[in-house]
Symmetry: C2
Subunit: 340 residues, 2 copies
């Protein structure tokens, strides 16, 4: 089956996605019978259409694509105007624009447009989903398409898959996760005695933390991810303002010492709890026992535990946090849309 792909966003993840498609096209044809055809790539300055293998080779080699430089470059063309993309046959919009948690744009517009055109969506950006989860899922259902977002929920860590697929039939009583590798890395450094500022600067110097680290260190990133996993797997209806949230910058040496004395370790957890009063989500630093399955998650690691009524507790951990691994999560979602 031929699958048309359009990519929006050509930053680190978008570029990694193009390279991965180049590397995996043969494998996907052979193993899944899917013929991935990247038709167009959009960024904020325009669009480029891929006409043949040479275009793909140039694009995936990482050579810079500049306005006016190549015949297939259409400066200023937006996704909405690109009627050539919405051709016949099944298609997937791959959404890799930067996450904006204030208005969800530009991802929100892209996703709606794609689904209106009966294209499926695989998203790495979180903003639109954490602000308009219910309405976007409704749009998907109304148009008979799938909206997948593994890459937004935790890159290669398959928290969504385990929650939505492996626990089918069981009720999810709680979820707890270490979902932001950057925050976990900084807490590790503070545990070893560094100040918050020093640990953050180390993370920034290694390219782990962004120059503006607030999404990660103020708990926003974890809040987005626990929301997405909980809404998708446990049927909750959180939007971002429902998630109680604190970050890691206020944690003191004394807090670490107190945790150590009681044989515990401090972790930034995203947590969903279900009780008679309903479901709640929160993000905060907690002292957890060393026997807790999340206590051994170190460095930029991630993990999530589901507590269920019929299967017990199940934890999934690992998965790289690189652009390549995020691209692999997008590719997985695309394959699973068509494998049924």
């Amino acid at each position: 089956m031929k699958i048309n792909l359009a990519l929006v966003g050509f930053g680190r993840v978008g570029r990694a996605f193009v390279r991965l498609v180049g590397e995996k096209r043969g494998f996907c044809r052979e193993v899944y019978g899917l013929d991935l055809d990247l038709r167009a790539v959009f960024n904020s300055r325009g669009a480029f259409f891929l006409e043949d293998e040479r275009d793909f080779a140039r694009l995936s080699s990482g050579s810079p694509v500049r306005p006016g430089r190549r015949g297939f470059w259409k400066p200023g063309l937006t996704l909405g105007e690109a009627s050539r993309v919405w051709g016949r046959g099944p298609g997937v919009l791959v959404e890799c624009t930067p996450t904006d948690i204030r208005d969800g744009e530009p991802g929100l517009g892209h996703m709606r447009l794609a689904m209106k055109n009966r294209w499926h969506v695989a998203a790495a950006s979180k903003g639109a989903l954490v602000l308009h989860f219910g309405s976007l899922m409704d749009t998907a259902e109304r148009n008979g398409v799938r909206l997948k977002f593994s890459a937004a929920a935790a890159a290669a860590l398959p928290g969504l898959d385990v929650g939505c697929h492996s626990l089918a039939g069981s009720e999810i009583l709680g979820i707890e996760g270490i979902l932001t590798g950057t925050a976990n890395f900084i807490l590790d450094g503070m545990e070893r005695g560094a100040s918050f500022g020093d640990a953050l600067r180390e993370a920034q110097s290694l390219g782990i933390a962004e120059p503006d680290p607030s999404l990660d260190v103020d708990g926003w990133d974890t809040a987005c991810k626990i929301l997405l996993i909980s809404n998708a797997a446990a049927g909750t209806h959180f939007t971002l303002k429902d998630v109680r949230r604190e970050g890691i910058s206020h944690v003191s040496e004394k807090d670490f010492a107190r945790a150590r004395e009681s044989g515990r370790v401090l972790k930034l957890l995203g947590r969903m709890t279900r009780n008679r009063g309903g479901c709640r989500a929160r993000v905060g630093v907690e002292a957890i026992e060393k026997t807790h399955p999340l206590s051994t998650v170190s460095g930029t690691g991630k993990a999530v535990t589901f507590i269920t009524d019929a299967m017990g507790s199940i934890t999934v951990s690992g998965g790289n946090s690189s652009p390549r691994a995020t691209a692999a999560a997008l590719l997985k979602d695309i394959i699973n849309i068509f494998r049924g």
Copy 2:
């Protein structure tokens, strides 16, 4: 959608399955739109058909079903003769007979019969699958049905789901798993200084090990599970005789001491390795580093790690090993057949 179910095998897992269906029918209707209808239960002495809610209530309450006791009991009736079961509409055979790794019966006959009748299969028994994996999967494909076996591969631990679903598009370079809770429990006891015999007897007295423990302690159970996970997720073609296998009874105090000295811990691992010469599977006790994600699996715990080319390493751990949790894995497979 109404889903007909026929259960074969009415031991601990079969009974737990009936109870779970009773408990979850409303949930499955509401959340997945699936109306589970248990039509018949077979054991080695005959069949009983469920005509109405009272039959179901009696069956799921655990009251013993004896030949001649109830009107709906058909002594001596086999699955093959039960043409009433293979009615219209989608159906799933739930295979819970004891595992026999010599000839795979009676599960083999049941699965083939069901698939020939265009019923899907959810299996908890391993024998037929580890002896005839390829041929059974071919039969499923030829008849347009699904053959699912999460419950056979590791009860509630979703190793198969992660391997088959969450890693789609990535190449699996290796798999390593602690897949037999009983063996892990006994090794834990030996680590604390007990002899193999004493640790085994403790496991038996707690109902963890079978009176004949050879499947677990000689590595057969782990061999079956690594085979199923590898064949299903990594496309290998192992049969049971391809898996090099050793158990845990030979491990000495000296082995534990040597492991401790080098900061390692002994675990019975099932392992698949892929290299240029192809894929190999083996089961044996290995000394693993304390930083290894499987090193913290204690007691009757289970876990499996996948090493991939594009996503890094991903580990899934936990899930109860009870009959109820195995039944929950069967229910999950049934739901996912129709959600697909």
